[in-house]
Symmetry: C2
Subunit: 151 residues, 2 copies
């Protein structure tokens, strides 16, 4: 797809494939737990003891609040999260993980770390910090590029 003759081009192809694979993995993992992709992503947004409201979740997921209402409906019905009125401001809904939700999130996080551990086992330990640095650069560059308005 891209001429793989320069290091940059090879790296570009790698991140491209990586992205595609990650996406596929997410789809797979979601249906494994009987969740839609949106529900799955919503769940993954939670730290295990976090409490969020509809609006902030919508913002983080870059979806409309109305869409979020229905996604959360699904997660409540499937008993992964609890939804209750915020006593401090009764307009807000306090959305928190149920115990079922917590254990799933923990399990997912663990699996996610595990796979990266596996990967690191294939890589010389002296390279590990370097890899982290490189990936950090990659991420920073991407964020910088995204922040630009003129492209």
């Amino acid at each position: 797809m891209i001429d793989a003759d320069t290091v940059a081009a090879r790296l570009a192809n790698l991140t491209f494939s990586l992205l595609a694979n990650c996406q596929e993995k997410e789809v797979h993992l979601a249906e494994l737990h009987g969740l839609t992709q949106a529900e799955f992503r919503c769940l993954r947004l939670f730290g295990t003891d976090e409490s969020l409201n509809n609006k902030t979740i919508a913002e983080r997921m870059k979806l409309s609040p109305s869409r979020l209402t229905r996604i959360i409906d699904g997660l409540v019905k499937k008993e992964y999260i609890n939804r209750e009125i915020d006593p401090n401001d009764r307009r807000n809904m306090r959305v928190t993980l149920s115990s079922k939700g917590k254990s799933l999130v923990q399990q997912l996080n663990k699996a996610y770390v595990d796979i990266h551990e596996e990967i690191l086992q294939d890589i010389d330990p002296s390279m590990h910090e370097q890899l982290i640095t490189a990936m950090t650069h990659l991420l920073e560059a991407l964020e910088k590029w995204l922040a630009k308005t003129d492209y």
Copy 2:
């Protein structure tokens, strides 16, 4: 989200953020060119002088042929691709990039390589090959993991 105390956890967080950013970038880039995300991804699938048919594109994009028919409809209307009957097998449609399509694909590929070149400039050249190796391992591990059925 994940305790960032081990290298594996840090790497996990990095790929997670990277994924989110790449997705955002794609959405942004698509609408910048007046394309839907599906159209954009379809276009990016083409090497500049490739000629595909409906079915193979559908397979590569993991979408149904019927969905593809409409996506290609849009790209034809926007004059990014040409669609003509394959003279060898008149059941097939030969889908190729128009000159407008070719130049966009080239431009996108160039931009994609450029951003990775920028990133590499921040990294010691002696480490480049190692980075590629590490990323290749990452990708391989992910593919291997995806191929497993029992997780």
